[in-house]
Assembly symmetry: D2
Amino acid sequence: MKRKNYEDALKPLKAKLAGMGRWAKQRGERIVVLFEGRDTAGKSGAINAIADAMNPRQCHIVALPTPSERERGQWYFQRYVPYLPSAGEVVLFDRSWYNRAGVERVMGFCTEAQYRTFLCQAPEFERLLVDDGIRLFKYWLTVDQEEQEKRFAERAADPLKQWKLSPVDMQAREKYAEYGAARDAMLGATHSTHAPWTLVDFNDQRLGRLTLIDHLLRNVPEGEIPAQPQVLPPLSGPALKETFGGPLVPIPPYQAGDDR
Amino acid sequence: MKRKNYEDALKPLKAKLAGMGRWAKQRGERIVVLFEGRDTAGKSGAINAIADAMNPRQCHIVALPTPSERERGQWYFQRYVPYLPSAGEVVLFDRSWYNRAGVERVMGFCTEAQYRTFLCQAPEFERLLVDDGIRLFKYWLTVDQEEQEKRFAERAADPLKQWKLSPVDMQAREKYAEYGAARDAMLGATHSTHAPWTLVDFNDQRLGRLTLIDHLLRNVPEGEIPAQPQVLPPLSGPALKETFGGPLVPIPPYQAGDDR
Amino acid sequence: MKRKNYEDALKPLKAKLAGMGRWAKQRGERIVVLFEGRDTAGKSGAINAIADAMNPRQCHIVALPTPSERERGQWYFQRYVPYLPSAGEVVLFDRSWYNRAGVERVMGFCTEAQYRTFLCQAPEFERLLVDDGIRLFKYWLTVDQEEQEKRFAERAADPLKQWKLSPVDMQAREKYAEYGAARDAMLGATHSTHAPWTLVDFNDQRLGRLTLIDHLLRNVPEGEIPAQPQVLPPLSGPALKETFGGPLVPIPPYQAGDDR
Amino acid sequence: MKRKNYEDALKPLKAKLAGMGRWAKQRGERIVVLFEGRDTAGKSGAINAIADAMNPRQCHIVALPTPSERERGQWYFQRYVPYLPSAGEVVLFDRSWYNRAGVERVMGFCTEAQYRTFLCQAPEFERLLVDDGIRLFKYWLTVDQEEQEKRFAERAADPLKQWKLSPVDMQAREKYAEYGAARDAMLGATHSTHAPWTLVDFNDQRLGRLTLIDHLLRNVPEGEIPAQPQVLPPLSGPALKETFGGPLVPIPPYQAGDDR
């Protein structure tokens, strides 16, 4: 999808997201959106597209680091719970508790017993949240391996994106099929009426984002509150310039090629 | 500044920021950058431009909500301290402890005594951080009132930006001069050798961002570590397609004007 | 029960508690004990008797304040979750999530819907913990009103205990029957095979503590690990006295009636 | 000192502590008390004697575990700051930031540079707290080695106290003189007008506690607020017995020698 088309299509969706934010705030609604999917699928791009349309004090992105020793000794869901939303908040999870059924499962970072326990507990844990009134959305972003390879190659070549290539990612390249099988097992065990999964094709990331955001908006019942027109009264005096009473003044502006 | 020129100029700076991130990680460096300035000056735009070039697990944005009752009873700096960086981390504060000398001072949200105490304590607090090895940068973004008014008007008109217009902002419009005076008093009391302020002209936001990022990079001594070329070995088999073992498949892609 | 008899009986139980602590640490076991019951029943006395026998870095007492505004907007169980034990830890909850079915229910601090949701969710929440391997004990301490009145009168008379008499307690005095009914409803809804309640008569607090601790120890399977005899090698030189290189020396010892 | 004499002398001090608690609450005062000293000196005994007289929701004991990897990368004081008191609170630190000048120094757990930085920063950090209105007390508990040896031997022999004997303690036995020298260096660098140290002889722990508490109370200016007599109106009906609507009833009371 062309950037221009994407931006044109995104604009009205962003307005609706802003409306969803107003609605959540006014009604005290709580929204949780999980983003899962293969490396390079486009999770953070999708998350940023949503967050950009909302007040950062209302909409929080949660991307947890690997668990500490102490956290590994706790109830598996414990370290995620403090980030659940309060009234009026939206939380976007960049990866989530489903790590256990994805990367941890495929790379052998958890035991078989921990994995089994997780598959049983996830739907029950989610039911507690949903029954408490939290609106929970679970998206899995799909991408074919050819496209994934293209993106890996881009990351390897671009110094700006190299941090996105971890050693675990490199190993994951050869485990495309295993990740797919793990995903199917996960969907089978955790796709429920109260907390369904939605798969979105992200082979075209721009189209994927539009599809995901559109789906989200359609599933927030009457979520959209129109913006109130705001009127700015005229200033009571002339517009002022920045002036500085002390010795400090702005530094000279940047000039390309400048070797100050 | 034209978008095209901005993007061309930003690209090499982003590469250097990524290098700074590698350097901070490798050396265990800690960097704190405070962004202060008038409403609409462009704090979050500048913050996002920096954060975009770095690993979000390394570079954290901190934008604290108004303090809770319990926090109001604590040492003033207490609620900021938990967000200071650990080894290898970069923290970008979208507003900071300087709230007390800015909005709190001008709008009367703190007492005269609290304000005086703050002006004394800020340099001492910062000295503790700097002497502990934290690299601290304090930027104040300037904008003339005419430009500020333009941006307020834009926010009022754009449903996507209305959340940026709080009642306090609306009152602040008429206090442009008072904010300037408060800034001068703040600079006078808290511009120190160990923790100097840098003023950056943000009447042109794009130029302002380049100026600020360039300044930051020039003041991180030898901060830049070149990216290591990464080579992806060829896959051991053919690239696979996403296939789905269960009933769930990707939802249909978004179509503009679709009224599903 | 006489103090002397109590202390004689408590001693071997404390040794067993210490053994339980060693066992929990060695095996990475996690233990949660909830203490509920009427005001004055003796919850903190029982908790302290247990905590006294254990390493405070292993055994934590959790007595949460009333929820903040932000917490009131969250999933009800959210504020308790961060205090759940990691491997090797014991957590003693002085009141717990059952507040909702006790004081909040009787005093009208929650809605009927919140109460209903709680009664459904508590057993499911607890099942998640228990299935994850946490050993959960729930004690309800009983006391007749006559005895309760005696203790209230003591608190009112003793300046050292007055902080234990809150306005809510004072109102609760007249609601003895309502609290009993609320307790019965709570037991009916939340006494489960995986997380049963145990009622302990605390009309005699000392006897109650022994009964509770003995019950706890009997239900931690093979919990007791004998203490290893530790041998201190003799010092390599003569025992030294505290000497002080600077001007500071210990202050004079306390003397009763002293009016320094 | 005999237990009886101790308890008689402690009683009026506890009443004054309770008064100090009322005063702190009413006036929004914040109190921090640090307890430092050699192993076995009696820090926790003194802390518990104070805490026993106060509302646990007002008076918090802080005994931090060894720092995590992440904490070791942070500003040294960072992990202590979240535990500083809010208005009306009293915080008792069982060991404190002075670890760096004691055990860490003597056992070589920190570098020379970290140690030097700490000695410079501690008085400045404390000045920030004190200037913010926090009342800070720093106690160092002294004990001769002969007495210390007696207590170590007791701990080794008593299964209930063995957890108090860590491997680091065992090594510390042979470093009595080094700990004394480290203490002198610490007192020399951190005994200041705004945050003075007080040394208390704890060779007799009971007498030491009385001395410390008495000193604390004398240095809280006008801290004591008399308890208000509280009157309980008579109950409006007869006192009720615990009755149980369901199948659950209290378990049988504990009987010594019982082998249920």
